[in-house]
Point group: D3
Chain length 246, copies 6
């Protein structure tokens, strides 16, 4: 690993792409954020419902769930709509489940009461890291939806629905052996190892998904990747706080 | 009909909502436009392919098609994803077909050669008139995609692929009998008659779809609505020219 | 336009094909009619249910809906079954919705009470104008089903469920510029403009769907087409009355 | 078993309902027949294609297949469309396969050459025995389609495509122990045993499907049912010959 | 028919393949059996539920149903998963329905009370006769599930839920005219006639499904096949008793 | 964490459940293994095809893919079949993708040539760790299928298709804070953290998927879990070698 090599976009190995979070991009949703990680652009909306899925009824707990999708031309070549094919692909399912699990990790579902919040994360433009941008932006939309529910009296003013913040970032090992943070599509598509890490505002792990796309990776590489990831999520947590402070 | 009554948003009966057309909103597509009719926001992308559907192969003609969809939280209450339900609803199908037919009306498919352009019109936020905004914005994306194809040599420089411009607007009769142009959701949902009109830059009709939602309508009302529509599409054609001139 | 040219089947421009309406063709349905417009043959059945869709429950109103379909060999070449493909095509959806809207335009759903009538319009043989034949025949089946419901005491004897009659016809502009009424498949497939018009017994419009298949059309052509259509639906309304009088 | 008891419709135990076969009911198909067994009415069309399914290509053999379906209101209460549900039910599949197998039993697929005939059997009105009426009517449509193919030169004039005729009938044991032929819905729905028998013109079996709906049945009952069935299919074979002679 | 010819596996014409029934192969189900007919291996599980389908509620009766499926590599060449294709094939549907009907023929659904038992029959390895093995094995699983329900108090101790035992076997006519019992895949795939017979422990018929795959068959052949089948199911009933006695 | 506490099944924290690998359980597949991790029982079959998916044709490379599924009654309560529901659930998709990726990590697809191997992993009985058992067993089936392909001459005798072995295990943190290896369902369903780790025979990571089901986890816990996992996969690699040596 030679940390002196610059990346194609000139960033340092441990540097995030420019991140923008635009709150309330959508006029209808109880919470929403358009989040950008460089050329990746995800619209996250939070929809509140005073209701829970059937299997939760009468238990005094709420639920938070997520659906992830890509517009057909979010990517470089157009891909067919899942609604037209009549099936949701495996990748879509997997990411939707990941986003839902990640957000629930910081939600006290008892404090939420018998209410449900659905996070829709629609990728308007993709350039790597769509799932991590989705988690990071969905958290902001979720905070606003919980606040809305509090204002409307659906949730008790004293309830601590959110136990912490949550953010996610990708890390990977490039073919030259360099470990890097926040990979755009050009790096991601050739990386030897690819890892997505979901971390709370306090710095604890909620999810680690690492895959050897090329050669299997060693424990030392794993450690280097986790260091980078924790630096990135720490910075994202700060950007979330700034966005929510406005 | 009392033309002195102001509409809820203060517009005159024959006035469009503020229209914004942002070209090249998407970095990947061969043509794209984010179009806004007031609170309605549709992302239109044009995807070029040097290929035609099987039933057209070897005939020297191209094809233009469209797919319309809404994000789940484009509307005031969240609606389930069609990809999750595994079926495209009737309304979605109908509007996709309308957009495709409308654009093909101004395309010389022979001049396009054996190439295909797919227009994706995704409603990011809905406030009435989504199909008319989609047609109007898709035309702008289509112009840029044809130009791109010309630059790339996929289409002959001298070919006149586009025979005219195309735009669309809604008109309707309010419960008080007033005929109005470009209805937002609040007006649309209570209108007695609802009509979508697709008109070329030269002022000829490509499509008229009028429906009595309340009482059946008379020939005089139809005439009044068509007058309003032609005024609106004339103004939209001018806005398209301005956007394309930039 | 040369109104002296005879059409391929020898009809005048403003002449309907032979229309036959056979009431009670089906022994099980609460109302039914086999309607023929020349070689187009549609079986319309009305099914009554003392129940409404969930979203209407407890509101004291009823509902009328329709489903349109074609047998695989209704057309000149066999087309695959939608049940086998597992999806309903866009055209089917669109026509089903049109039939339902058209019938509801003459139904007082309050007077119907919390009851539902489903009109199934199955095309047994197609030769152009299947949707207009379906609307015209479905009205006859609907009248009989409402009468049945009255006899059975499901609907009050004094309720005026049907506010008017409803019929539909196609009009179009042939390649020679001639505007004609009630197009068979041979004319429809080459028409420049194609329009379906749904009109009440009183002569008011319920639906106008006009499409430029070839060149866009001008306002004068539209006026000529509407004149023809109103003549046709007036004649159909009379044939409906005659069928119901038997 | 008391053979003196009359059946509800006055028939003797071994008597068919009135059978009507109307050839060429459909103007488009290469062969067609509307067949009626009492109140059961099935439209059978045969569609010829100079092509075979992929798995048969290049083997010099043809194929005959069938699709069975019911209109929603063929029955006493309306049932949902399979196209709307997006799935074909088990019963539909099973009957389609039975009809296809039965017809192939009398077809010399080598003599047919690389051609395919699809039999669509659509039940317009149901009153028991729809699958047996479908097989019996489909044979008539098939004969006409083969003749058409011969006239068109798709099939050699000397080829003996059809090796025999084929017909089918239902038999059953009523609750009073009586074995009867050709059960209408009222008998079928209460029968202890229900059997469908497919027999060639020469009197050999192609398919026997017997089910104990109530008590299991004994070998003697089976023998009695087969006697009745062979009498019925013999009579149907004669009616097929008469229809084809016209 | 020459009864002196030995079959490829050396069996006599009226001889079953080795049959093994392993009870309680599955640790979770209320009843289960792994049944083997030679190389055919079917895992049958019975799942008990104190509940009935909606259409049975409040009638004091229970229900028994079955689902049949094959693992993708149960057969000699891999076949695609029905879950991946998103549709259940006709053959699967047909066999599932046959198994359910066969088991219900020996169940007193009133005695079962408002409870439901689902038999899953999954073919782990196929070598002909999978549906008959499934019925024979499912009966054993059903007996254990009923006994479990009795122990748990869901079903009255005195209720005679099972009126008889049930077993099934295949019979067929080989190309040399020989009628044989229990066909492995190699015989089944070339048989002229193929018949599945479902018989109670008392020797009465519940289902007969005979198909001429090659030449139609005569009444004498049918009689010979039924004789063989009754011998086979008698032997299977004994093996079921032995398995249940352990 | 108290490492002195015994687990419910008496195992030490770093002890695997009894593992059994039965090779060639299926008579048809080119490779197969029934693998058991305690009460978890997965049938893995490898199907060889001299063909590649369309997107790989002509590139001289092969492909290895996997499909995972559960029998309906593999679990304690019956779950509906995905084939009946017509959709594959997110969890199934996700695990199928994980198995495929894990196996491909040790396959030299160039050395495999233009051939494809599909691993079907069907869970016959589930008690936690089904995905890890599936990966571990699928490797054994894969080795046998590659060997078969070599014997048949589909793959060069000198080609090193398999670069290493691959195995997987689950690790987790119990509510009392204890980190444990190879969790059965009873532990898995209450674990605070749940991690699946896929490791090559050489001890390098191919996949790490860790999820905080309860409280987020700290870096030290992660390290402890990885230690346990590496011990477990090392033992599994040895068991694979022993099975393949027989």
């Amino acid at each position: 690993m030679s940390i002196t090599t610059l990346r194609t976009d000139g960033r340092a190995a441990d540097e995030l792409r420019p991140v923008t979070i635009t709150r309330n991009w959508n006029a209808h949703a109880e919470g929403s954020a358009l989040i950008e990680f460089g050329g990746t652009r995800v619209l996250c909306t939070a929809s509140f419902e005073s209701n829970v899925p059937r299997w939760l009824k009468g238990q005094g707990s709420g639920w938070v769930t997520a659906e992830y999708a890509m517009l057909p031309r979010a990517t470089n070549t157009r891909s067919g709509r899942e609604s037209v094919r009549g099936k949701i692909g495996g990748r879509t399912h997997e990411i939707s489940r990941l986003i839902g699990r990640s957000l629930r990790a910081v939600v006290d579902t008892k404090a939420l009461g018998e209410n449900m919040i659905t996070l829709d994360c629609d990728v308007l433009q993709a350039d790597g890291g769509t799932r991590t941008a989705a988690i990071t932006g969905a958290y902001v939309a979720l905070v606003d939806a919980v606040e809305w529910a509090r204002q409307q009296g659906h949730v008790s003013k004293r309830a601590e629905v959110l136990k912490d913040s949550i953010a996610a970032i990708s890390v990977g090992v490039l073919p030259d052996g360099q470990a890097v943070l926040d990979l755009p599509y050009s790096e991601d598509s050739t990386a030897e190892t690819d890892m997505n890490v979901v971390v709370t505002g306090s710095g604890d792990f909620v999810e680690i998904q690492g895959t050897a796309e090329g050669a299997p990776f060693k424990r030392e590489e794993l450690d280097r990747l986790l260091d980078l990831a924790l630096g990135g999520t720490d910075r994202l947590a700060q950007l979330q706080r700034e966005a929510l402070a406005q």
